[in-house]
């Protein structure tokens, strides 16, 4: 017996309702995820963007004999109360380096202290009523103003919030990543090439494969312990250095690169290998001339993502001592250094209000670098993707 459309529709109604419900639930999940993301970014931007501005004051510097021993003496005592101590300390040095300055005067915009900065940004500050009046007057006369914070992007860490910057951490991150890349990329790619193109498929290679997959899932702090035990204690690599940090992160990144490379190699069609063997290529020539070039976009994407992951890593670096207080921009791979996420971690532990915005500012910088890296991974893949 056949059914009319009405009968079938009546039966179908429940099924359609169910699929509509599922659709709404999944859209709700997406919306919720999006909402969290928006909230996170809004909060970070709100807290972090002020860090890119800093209060500066215009002072008249009088390089006299007293200033050569005590910087404060170079300034009008009234104004000197708003100037950052970090700048006052620089003055004797400036005179020592350049004795011609003695006896001259100069107009200059210099950092104010952190409390003035926070007061100008409308945050809570420890300024007394009298000090606030002085600052208000200076603002009215145009001698105190918020300007783009060059200090933040050019200095290392400091105990004075107004003088703290991320440059040292950024340089540390670059050096650490260079070490990681130099170690993890060649070893990872060659390991994957061996496993995928040369190794026989037997019990041993299967065990190796399972273990590599497991390594990728190990909590990163364990790699830090391994780095501490082997690199620092056994091989005596200097602690807190980009060298030991990079080596530790390389351990962590290796499995990611190996897995990405194997996937990329596997996606190269066998017909290309056969063609190459058919014209008399040796195994290594097949890999070098035909398989690797085709797999390169995939390998690069995987490596960049692995590197980005390593870049945001803090836990293993804490173990190998890369959370040190680093006021100077590092110059060598064996000097103590810190990295961006560790710098954020350090600032987050500071009690002063001014460091809250430094923390958020640091996160913004780290996030933009990570977004840039991931975007370049996508672009590389799109650009070099070849069809056959």
């Amino acid at each position: 017996m056949s059914h009319s459309f009405d009968e079938i529709s009546a039966q179908l109604r429940g099924r359609h309702r169910k699929s509509a419900r599922l659709k709404w639930i999944s859209m709700g999940a997406l919306g919720l995820a999006g909402l969290f993301l928006v909230l996170f970014f809004a909060d970070m931007l709100n807290k972090g963007l002020p860090a890119f501005q800093q209060a500066y004051v215009q002072v008249e510097l009088e390089y006299n004999e007293d200033a050569a021993s005590m910087g404060r003496a170079a300034m009008d005592p009234e104004v000197s109360r708003v100037v950052s101590r970090s700048f006052e300390r620089l003055i004797p040095g400036m005179i020592r380096d350049n004795p011609d300055l003695l006896g001259t005067t100069e107009q200059r915009w210099v950092l104010t202290n952190g409390d003035v900065d926070q007061y100008l940004k409308g945050h809570r500050s420890k300024l007394s009523e009298a000090e606030r009046e002085v600052v208000d007057e200076l603002v009215d006369s145009g001698q105190v103003a918020l300007k783009f914070n060059t200090t933040f992007f050019s200095r290392g860490d400091s105990k004075m919030a107004e003088n703290a910057g991320i440059m040292a951490a950024a340089v540390g991150t670059v050096m650490t990543m260079l070490v990681t890349l130099a170690i993890a990329f060649p070893i990872g790619v060659m390991t994957a090439v061996y496993l995928e193109e040369f190794a026989p498929d037997n019990r041993l290679t299967q065990i190796i494969e399972i273990n590599i997959n497991n390594l990728a899932a190990i909590p990163s702090i364990l790699f830090g312990l391994l780095g501490l035990a082997i690199f620092i204690n056994f091989f005596g690599v200097p602690r807190s250095s980009p060298l030991v940090g990079g080596m530790t992160l390389a351990l962590m990144t290796l499995p990611v690169i190996i897995i990405a490379t194997r996937t990329a190699l596997r996606s190269v069609p066998d017909s290309i290998r056969h063609a190459a063997f058919g014209v008399g290529c040796s195994r290594w020539q097949v890999v070098r001339d035909h398989v690797l070039p085709l797999a390169m976009p995939g390998i690069m994407t995987g490596s960049i993502i692995g590197l980005a992951q390593a870049m945001g890593e803090t836990a293993p670096l804490i173990i190998v001592g890369m959370v040190a207080f680093i006021p100077d921009v590092g110059a060598s791979f064996t000097q103590a250094a810190t990295v961006l996420p560790a710098q954020v971690f350090t600032w987050a532990g500071e009690p002063e209000r001014a460091f809250v915005e430094k923390t958020a500012g640091g996160i913004l910088v780290l996030l933009s670098i990570l977004i840039f890296l991931n975007a370049s991974a996508v672009i590389l893949r799109k650009k070099f993707e070849r069809r056959w």
């Binding site: 017909s271 056969h274 063609a275 058919g278 014209v279 008399g280 056959w388």
Partner: protein, 281 residues
């Protein structure tokens, strides 16, 4: 070599053990290219080739026909050791070329493949330019080094493959931009660029349209002046059109190896006759 007059053999005179064709093709060349004796091949535990004996002659087209899974492609891959790439394969028996056992441990498979080229079922040009596709292998084998030599070699190989006129203005475009039939001729040009002795073709036209197929068949007819061509085909008309000798495979055995004309007009075995007349396959 002593060339016998074609003789009509009876079924009892069919000699699959001797490796020689039942009937001789009087027009064909009979210098030995590859001699195969008692060749057995296993994939794991299952035997795919059983006691094959066949003499393949130089500067002929030899077609291998037979139903799917009869071992003809497997046999073809024995001739340039492409089966080495499959880990579970085990081979016993003799494949001899130029007095050398190709399966001997001291035989270098790279040297073998330099003399025994291969064209595959699906056109598989390298994802490089047309020029680089052709010049890659000769450059790798150090046959050419200077640019003018390379240009000359590319032109010659493409001319021999009947592709020159169509691609001479776009040599630096990717090989994969060509049509299927052109890609297959590019693969043939790539194979002949290293001047091999033998070219193995594994169903070279099965992925192509009828016009491209006809072009490739003409090409095979011309190429046999210079090269020994051994081709696997599913298409019996194709075997009848292009081959001097035809070997009929069934369940891993060579049932009949015969002059093509005789094979299709008056086969010596019942099985070959049934297959050719379309009773199975």
């Amino acid at each position: 070599m002593n060339i016998q007059v074609a003789e009509r053999s009876t079924a009892s005179m069919s000699r699959p053990e001797s490796g020689q064709p039942v009937t001789r093709n009087t027009e064909a060349n009979h210098e030995l290219s590859i001699r195969v004796r008692d060749l057995n091949l296993w994939y794991g535990d299952s035997q795919a080739l059983k006691n094959l004996n066949i003499d393949l002659y130089q500067k002929n087209v030899t077609a291998l026909i037979g139903p799917s899974g009869c071992g003809k492609s497997t046999f073809l891959r024995c001739l340039n050791r492409m089966n080495d790439l499959i880990p579970s394969v085990r081979i016993k028996g003799l494949v001899e070329m130029d007095g050398h056992d190709v399966n001997a441990p001291k035989m270098d498979e790279v040297a073998l493949r330099r003399r025994v080229g291969m064209v595959f079922q699906k056109p598989n040009p390298f994802p490089k330019s047309i020029y680089d596709n052709v010049v890659y292998a000769p450059r790798m084998h150090d046959l050419v080094s200077r640019k003018p030599e390379q240009d000359e070699l590319v032109e010659k190989a493409l001319r021999d493959a009947g592709l020159w006129e169509e691609v001479k203005d776009k040599l630096h475009q990717p090989g994969t931009s060509l049509s299927g039939g052109q890609q297959q001729r590019l693969c043939i040009a790539r194979a002949i660029a290293v001047q091999p002795d033998v070219i193995l073709m594994d169903e070279p036209t099965s992925a192509l349209d009828p016009i491209s197929t006809a072009t490739i068949e003409d090409l095979m007819d011309r190429l046999k002046q210079k090269f020994t061509i051994i081709t696997v085909t599913h298409n019996m008309q194709q075997a009848a059109r292009v081959a001097d000798y035809t070997a009929f495979f069934h369940l891993g055995e060579i049932i009949e190896y015969n002059d093509t004309r005789t094979m299709f007009s008056n086969p010596a075995t019942k099985k070959a006759e049934d297959y050719i007349t379309g009773r199975y396959g």
